[in-house]
């Protein structure tokens, strides 16, 4: 099998310099959903402004439903998706917090709504900058969660997200998270596929049980203890199937453009003795730090998790199998305990030494030096008294 490099030479004319927000809007235009219920919030606004202009210019047929709140936006999206139309939306931070009740219901009602989230810190104090605490609110809601690392990935996962959400074995919302400002507002070259290619890739929306049909159905019934548990398990099983059906979707996408995605990605992991795990836009910073340490002969590597729910625990365990010490970088906190990505990693591996690092809350920068300090820390004995290291906030312990 020939590789895509030779198979499909990149056509530079397809590249445009776009922010992550614009790239998502471009994906929306090409997917052309039936209904787009939405409410504005920073840093999601570039997505909805650009898409609204596309509709105003007649370049998309979507009905933009300008809801009076995120709660109603998500409610309308669920109504539209179950009625039989493709519905998508976008939000961030407090907006996701406000719609969270309906995010849970979207999952339990199996409404395949793709949601772009410009990940931003939760209030308070109020802050508009990037972190993952909003996404973590939806962690247990039963939706598929993807955290992308570039504007290109944001575009690609919006397109793939539609296929994943609407897959007959899944039928669940898919949340595509892109870090606020770092991705939503930063421009980079993004390869845009042909409109027809995207349309063909996503196909027509065909919800198998539309509300608006001649066969009457009751959606959202009341379930007593003798049924609730099994209904919940059926929903959990659907989320777990998302991991199983994803490779076929990513392979099919790779045939279009050559970009082959996996639930997670290792960098310099072949012989790594120490490794870090991270999600989101700081992958580049992590790789830069790893490069620096590799130059000094240190066997370090980084695993970037893209698919956070369902959590690819077997793939992660495989990546980290031979590693002696791990630092998990969370851009969210779980006050009073360990943060989410740490707990998931800890449960997936048998490595004795797994440290927790919290970074970047409220948009705080993560520098390569912060990461180098964490790798240094992994060489020393574990510190039980101070189990979580706040990178970029705690003093960096000097050891060279």
């Amino acid at each position: 099998m020939t590789s895509w490099f030779t198979d499909k030479p990149q056509d530079l004319r397809r590249f445009r310099v776009l922010t992550g927000g614009q790239a998502v809007a471009e994906a929306l235009r090409q997917i052309d959903p039936d209904v787009f219920p939405v409410y504005p919030i920073t840093p999601q606004t570039p997505i909805i402004e650009a898409f609204a202009q596309c509709v105003a210019d007649g370049r998309s047929h979507a009905r933009i439903l300008t809801a009076e709140s995120e709660h109603s936006a998500m409610s309308a999206a669920v109504g539209a998706a179950l009625a039989g139309a493709r519905a998508m939306t976008a939000t961030a931070s407090q907006g996701l917090a406000y719609m969270i009740e309906i995010v849970y219901l979207a999952a339990s009602l199996r409404a395949p709504v793709v949601i772009a989230v410009g990940n931003r810190a939760l209030s308070g104090p109020i802050n508009i900058h990037g972190d993952h605490s909003d996404g973590m609110l939806a962690r247990d809601s039963g939706v598929v969660q993807v955290y992308v690392t570039t504007a290109q990935e944001a575009y690609d996962w919006m397109v793939m997200g539609v296929r994943l959400a609407e897959h007959g074995e899944v039928l669940l919302p898919v949340m595509v998270g892109l870090d606020g400002f770092t991705l939503t507002h930063s421009a980079e070259p993004v390869e845009i596929l042909a409109d027809a290619a995207v349309q063909e890739f996503v196909g027509p929306y065909a919800y198998p049980y539309p509300l608006l049909s001649e066969v009457a159905g009751t959606y959202g019934a009341f379930a007593m203890p003798e049924h609730y548990f099994e209904i919940k398990r059926q929903q959990i099983a659907a989320l777990e199937r998302a991991e199983a059906v994803l490779p076929a979707i990513t392979r099919s996408f790779a045939k279009l453009c050559g970009r082959q995605y996996a639930p997670l990605e290792g960098y310099c992991m072949e012989d790594a003795e120490r490794a870090m795990v991270i999600m989101g836009s700081q992958r580049g910073t992590a790789q830069e730090a790893v490069d620096k340490l590799r130059e000094r002969g240190q066997k370090v590597g980084v695993v970037t998790v893209r698919l956070f729910r369902p959590f690819p625990r077997r793939d992660l365990a495989e990546q980290l199998r031979a590693v002696q010490a791990i630092a998990v970088f969370d851009r969210a906190s779980t006050p009073g305990s360990f943060p989410p990505l740490y707990l998931d990693t800890r449960a997936a591996v048998r490595t004795p030494r797994v440290d927790s690092v919290i970074y970047g809350l409220g948009g705080r920068d993560l520098t390569p030096d912060d990461i180098v300090a964490v790798f240094d820390r992994l060489k020393r004995p574990a510190v039980d008294a101070d189990p979580i290291f706040y990178a970029g906030s705690d003093e960096i312990e000097q050891e060279r």
């Binding site: 159905g217 959606y219 019934a221 099994e230």
Partner: protein, 104 residues
């Protein structure tokens, strides 16, 4: 997997999946019955029955469907002619609550 495959995605229920539960246990010793000779077929008992326990056939009152009746007595209270009355559960009325005489 120990749970049934019969749960549809989203726990969707199709109308008619399950028969209507029998609500007659909600009644307390009495059930409605009709004296046909007094009935003027105004359908008020049908219109005001919260439980769809009043049977209408071809647009005319045709008695009671006891499994649906909870015994609220609204039919008795709204009957303008006194044709509907509560009778003991053990009363020998017809299957649709007919008290003497043939159904219309």
């Amino acid at each position: 997997m120990s749970f049934p495959d019969t749960i549809r995605p989203g726990a969707l229920i199709r109308s008619g999946d399950q028969p209507s539960p029998d609500m007659s246990g909600w009644r307390v010793d009495r059930k409605p019955a009709v004296q046909w000779s007094l009935c003027v077929d105004c359908l008020l008992c049908w219109a005001f029955c919260p439980d769809s326990a009043v049977v209408v056939e071809s647009g005319h009152f045709a008695g009671f469907h006891y499994p649906a009746c909870k015994g609220c007595e609204i039919c008795v209270a709204t009957c303008p002619t006194g044709a509907v009355a509560m009778v003991p559960e053990t009363s020998p009325v017809g299957p649709r609550g007919e008290m003497g005489g043939e159904a219309r």
